[in-house]
Every structure is written in structure tokens, then in C-alpha cells.
Amino acid sequence: MENNGTFMQTRGDDLTGSQSADSYEVRDPDVRLMLKVRNGDAGAFEELVLRYQNRLLAVLEHLVGKRDLAEDLAQEVFLRVYRARERYTPRAKFSTWLFTIANNVASNARRTLARRREVHVESSRSGSLSADPLAQMALAASGQMPNRQLDHSETRGVVRAAVANLNERQRMAVLLSKFEDMSYADIAEVMKLSPQAVKSLLSRARGSLRDALSPYIQDGQNPGKTNP
């Protein structure tokens, strides 16, 4: 109860259930744009695609691990948005609604991939990292040469691997929080979780990232900051 109570004071609180469709329409220009799509405004849909294409691709690419597939899935998301236009009612920010669809589409894709045993995305792994590529990279890059500076592309590869190492739900929560700057309440809505569960999820994700990336954080120096 204490935690719930704490959480309900968060910045996402004002965006939960109590808001009316009108308030989203007033505050979120993309909701207004989507309402135009619903009312048959031709350019509005393309405008939405243009606004969200890169953001959506970034999330999907990290979720499914393949660029081509991510682009296909992004198109699928936009197709679903268009098909849903007639029954669209603004009950959340547009981005929340869009990423909810993206989450569903990505989940379906991952399930299909898993069934076909084409495991593009590693599933969640806890415990030892020694068997995975990330751990091997960690050893090669820093364990044996503790003082070397990582170059930019190497850091990027390591971080990408660390993100891929998170489980699916953690990864989605991290992407929405970090790159979409979503509140816990919004992430909860996208992922159909409680805000408290999002809080735990992100906390564990931060812990996993710290564990995975600690070999690269040498003496408090963040390679990301030395080479922005």
C-alpha cells in the first residue's frame, strides 16, 4: 500500500483514467490529427506516419532485433491504426495508443518467430552471462584490458547487446521510458500492467543493464560521456 500510495503521486497520475476524451483532444495535437483521420482528412494520416515513423522503428528494431522486420512491423502498426480509425476514441495520448498497438504487433511477431525457432531475439536470461556474446565481448573488451578506452562503435555494440539481453517486457519498458520519455502510467497502459509493476520492471532492467555494462564503466567514467 505504501508503494502504491507513493506511486499515485507520480507525474503520470494526471494522465490516468480520470481524463476525458476532450482533454486529450485539447492537450495532444496527435490526438487531434487522429480525429481528423477518423473524419476523413486525407493528409492527416500521412502526417502521423511522418511524425512517428522513426520513433516507432527505433522501438520495434530493438524489440525484434532485425531492421527489415521492424520496418514491416512499423507498416503493420500504421495499417492497424488506419483500420481502427472509425472506432477511435481518444482515451489516452496518441503515442500511448500507438505503442500499445506496436507492443501487440511485436509480441505476435516474436511468438511467430519463436514457433519457427528463428530466434532473432534472445529470450530472457538470468544468472551467468558467460555463455552469451555480451559476456564474451565484455571479457574481450575490458576484462582482459581493463584500462583501454572503448571506441564509439564498440560501445554501441555492447549497449545494443545489453539491451537485447533484457527480457521482452523489460526491454519494452526501457525503450518506452528512455526513448519515448513515457511516464510509468503510460507505460503501464501500453503494456497492460499496473504502474507498480512497471516500476519493478524498470528497476530490474536498470539492475540488469548495470550488471551487463559494469565492465565498461571504468572508475566511474562513462564512455558514452567521453565520446558523445
Partner: protein
């Protein structure tokens, strides 16, 4: 890291609180507690830094960007999907689809191979017996349908054609008498003569239409043939055909989404939607020029500019005159055209010594009936010319050589203003507008400012292609390479 000060009981809860703090999710008492502890507990601080460092490294991840045509292909894909409501639903996995289609493709390939061998043998046999109709015979036979394939596909049936013929917009008597209906009522010899006179591109188009038609199933072919037969047999054939042609020309003016909307509706719904679209106020000023028509207009401007270059240059300052005279012929032509475009946009066109109304009327005659009809709706010749100028506004600057950039660019072709430009623009906004922006969600304010910037840029009647950011009146002058609508700082004071 010394964690001795962190209560061993429930370290996970501590991490959660730190995470919520780092994510800016805490307020009030919870926030106060965390900050108090951070001030006094070094282990707690260290833990926070530890958790944050890994997080900060996420900034290293590359920014994904879709390919240039992503938006266009997405809209097109959506349009295609919406046209095929019974199409195979996407299974959520491209890989799975590929495998399925690969299997189908393989089967089709095998069937084609067998079919090809059999059909070659049968064709040889029939040909030897004089029973097989040649490809050319088939084209001649289907010629009236092939010539109107797109229109017939759009109409689908006679009831729809009759319904649109009752809509004023398509039923008026503005059919151009100088543009007689295609000769599909003629006999085979007339058709053959007509085809012989066609330019190669038209012949290719005809053959493509024939291929499309032959690929349709029997029912679809019959439907189009019946529609054609009913149309030509109708006592009001000319009116109906004229209405269909006008509908087709109007349809081409619509956006892809509107095409989708029309295609997915039932006949009655579609008619209602057509009326809704026609009732829109902006439809009256919308004009669709084909690439060829744009070239015609541009060519007119270019020739006028070259012919009247002395007059044009008299209006320019000495420096400009000198610059233009030193340019190569093609570059000079382009600059003069731009100069002419600007002068016409800026001044009363009819009073311009460079404007010749008779020549304009001759140019207008070369445009399609639909384009002429749209122009005729304008209140004056000046308005007509302004619309045409607007249609070729980017072509006047980039010239015909740069294909693919001639059309008015959509949002994807806009050049992004820099943050500094936006900041300046924000300062120039009225106080009320600025307050509204400040009230937006944190992640929205930048995007809304950008939208406002573009809206402002395009909505001003005095908008010129070479001007700087909106609000900077006559402040900037673009060099010859800087062709986008927004000036990215490469400016000089006039």
C-alpha cells in the same frame, strides 16, 4: 561498492525507489525522503550513480531512421490493403509469409512450366488450323474497353455511372466539343487506323491494358464488357460517358486516403461520400496538373522570361543584373524564370508588361478539360494564373532537369529548421500562442512548435519559395543552391 548502509531487508524496494526517483516519477513526501537519504547516505548515493551509469549508456544506441520513401510506401500499402478487404491478413511475421509465398511461388512456377509447354503445343496446333486469334486481333476487339479501362474499373457498373451523371459537378454541359469522345464506336478498320497513329508510349499503355484485361477472370472481363455495351447502347451515351470522364478526372485530384475511402464503400455510400467531398470548400480551388501540364506551364514561363529578359532585368538591381548576365545560358534561363515568377506573384499580373493574356489563353487551351474547368471557376484571369504559378513554384527554381522534384513537395520534402531558427520563431509568436505552447505536454511542445512553423510558412499569402523562416519579412535572400522553403542560416541582409 560498500552497500552496508543499505538495509539488507528488501534491497529491491530500494532500487525501485531509486529508479522512480531517477525517472522523475516521485513527488511530495516520497521525493523528500529520497533526497534526504541521498544527502546523508553515501552508499545510497553510490547505488544511485551505479544504476544511472548503465542507463546513460543507452544514449549510445544509434538513432533509427526509416528509408526516405517509408511514409509514401506506407500510405500506398495501406491504400492497397484497404482496396482488398478480402486479402490475406498479415500473419504478424514476414518470415512466415515469405515461407508460405515461397511455397506457393514454387508451385505456381512448376504449374507455369507445365502450362507453357502445353499451351505452346496447343497454340501451334490452333495456329496451324487458323483457329487462334492473334494478339493484335484481341487488342482491336477490346480496344474500346482498353481505352477506358481505368474509368470502367472505377465505375464498376451502370448504376454508378447513372448516379454520378445526376450530380451537378459531373453532369453539366462543359464537355469540350473540341475534344471528341475516343473513337471506340468505330469499326475495326477505324480502330486499327487510330492505333497506327498512336505514339509509341500510347501503344505501350494499350498493350499493358490488354495484358491487365486478359489477366482478369471471366466474370470481371464480362462485367467491364457489359458496362461498355450498356454505356454505348444507352440513349444518353454521350452524357454518361462525359460524366464518367469528368468523374475520373476529378477522382485523380483526390488524395490516396480519399481513394481508399471511395473504393471501400458500397455504391450508395460512395455516391454520398463523393457528394461530401464535393461539398468541401477547398475542393473548388484544388487543381491537379499532370507532369506534362506542369511542363507546359513552366515552358510558357521560361519562354516569356527569356523573351522579356530586358524588361525583367530592368526591375532587378544592378548586382543581380550583373550576376544573371554572367551565368551560363541554362542557368540564366532558370534565374530569369524565377525572377518572372516572383514578379508575377508579387504584382498585379494583368498590369505586368511581361504578361500576355493571349498567350496565356493559348497555354490554357493545352491543359486538360478538368484543369481548365477548375481554372474557369476562378473569379479572374489573375487568380487562374496565380493557381498555375503555385503549381509550378518549385519547378521554376529547380528546372526540368531535376526529375522527381518538380511536384509540390509534401511534408516529407520539407527541410527541418534548426533549433535556433525555431527558438527565434518562438520568440516572434504572440504571447498568447507562446503560453499555449508552454501548456503542452513536455514531449509535445517541440513538435507543436514545428507544426506551427510549417503552418505559418505555408499559410501566408505572401509566401515565397526563397524566403526565410516565417515572420522574417524580406530578410533573407537565398543563394542559387539553397532551394528549400526554409533558409538554414545561409542568409545575408538585403
Amino acid at each position: 561498492m560498500n552497500q552496508s548502509n543499505i538495509p539488507p531487508k528488501n534491497p529491491q524496494k530500494i532500487d525501485e525507489e531509486i529508479t522512480a526517483y531517477l525517472d522523475g516519477e516521485l513527488t511530495g513526501e516520497a521525493l523528500g525522503n529520497i533526497e534526504k537519504r541521498l544527502a546523508t547516505d553515501s552508499a545510497f548515493r553510490s547505488r544511485l550513480q551505479d544504476l544511472d551509469r548503465g542507463w546513460m549508456l543507452l544514449n549510445e544506441l544509434p538513432q533509427s531512421e526509416v528509408h526516405q520513401n517509408f511514409a509514401a510506401t506506407t500510405v500506398e500499402m495501406v491504400a492497397l490493403h484497404e482496396q482488398r478487404p478480402d486479402s490475406v491478413k498479415y500473419g504478424g511475421s514476414a518470415g512466415q509469409l515469405i515461407q508460405q509465398w515461397a511455397f506457393v511461388g514454387f508451385a505456381v512456377l512448376a504449374a507455369c512450366l507445365v502450362g507453357f509447354i502445353l499451351s505452346t503445343a496447343i497454340a501451334a496446333l490452333l495456329s496451324a488450323c487458323g483457329l487462334l486469334k492473334s494478339h493484335n486481333d484481341a487488342v482491336l476487339e477490346n480496344f474500346p474497353i482498353l481505352q477506358n479501362l481505368e474509368k470502367y474499373k472505377l465505375a464498376e457498373n451502370m448504376a454508378f455511372v447513372q448516379a454520378i451523371s445526376h450530380i451537378d459537378h459531373f453532369s453539366n454541359s462543359s464537355t469540350d466539343a473540341s475534344n471528341p469522345l475516343p473513337p471506340y464506336l468505330g469499326n475495326t478498320a477505324a480502330r486499327k487506323a487510330h492505333i497506327d497513329r498512336m505514339p509509341p508510349t500510347e501503344k505501350t499503355r494499350l498493350l499493358n491494358a490488354q495484358e491487365y484485361f486478359m489477366a482478369l477472370n471471366f466474370d470481371e472481363q464480362s462485367k467491364l464488357q457489359n458496362l461498355h455495351q450498356q454505356l454505348v447502347d444507352d440513349p444518353n451515351a454521350n452524357d454518361l460517358i462525359s460524366a464518367l470522364e469528368q468523374y475520373y478526372e476529378w477522382y485523380k485530384l483526390l488524395d490516396p486516403q480519399e481513394h481508399v475511402e471511395l473504393r471501400i464503400r458500397s455504391r450508395d455510400d460512395r455516391i454520398a461520400y463523393v457528394k461530401t467531398l464535393l461539398a468541401r470548400p477547398q475542393a473548388a480551388n484544388k487543381i491537379h496538373l499532370t507532369r506534362r501540364e506542369r511542363e507546359i506551364v513552366l515552358d510558357w514561363l521560361r519562354r516569356t522570361a527569356v523573351r522579356k529578359q530586358d524588361v525583367l532585368l530592368r526591375g532587378a538591381n544592378q548586382k543581380q543584373q550583373k550576376e544573371i548576365r554572367q551565368l551560363t545560358k541554362s542557368e540564366r534561363q532558370r534565374r530569369l524564370t524565377t525572377l518572372l515568377w516572383k514578379q508575377w506573384r508579387k504584382n498585379d499580373i494583368l498590369q505586368e508588361p511581361t504578361f500576355d493574356e493571349q498567350r496565356y489563353i493559348a497555354i490554357k487551351e493545352r491543359l486538360s478539360p478538368t484543369a481548365r474547368k477548375q481554372l474557369n471557376k476562378q473569379s479572374s484571369v489573375e487568380e487562374e494564373v496565380r493557381i498555375l504559378l503555385n503549381e509550378v513554384r518549385f519547378m521554376t527554381m529547380i528546372g526540368p532537369a531535376q526529375k522527381g522534384r518538380g511536384n509540390v513537395p509534401g511534408p516529407s520534402a520539407r527541410r527541418q529548421p534548426s533549433r535556433e531558427q525555431l527558438k527565434d520563431y518562438f520568440k516572434r509568436l504572440p504571447a498568447q500562442k507562446r503560453d499555449q505552447m508552454r501548456q503542452l505536454l513536455r514531449e509535445e511542445d517541440y513538435r507543436e512548435l514545428l507544426r506551427e512553423y510549417y503552418r505559418d510558412l505555408q499559410s501566408q499569402p505572401s509566401w515565397k519559395p526563397d524566403r526565410g523562416p516565417p515572420g522574417e519579412k524580406n530578410r533573407t535572400q537565398r543563394d542559387s543552391k539553397n532551394r528549400g522553403p526554409i533558409n538554414n542560416g545561409r542568409t545575408k541582409k538585403q
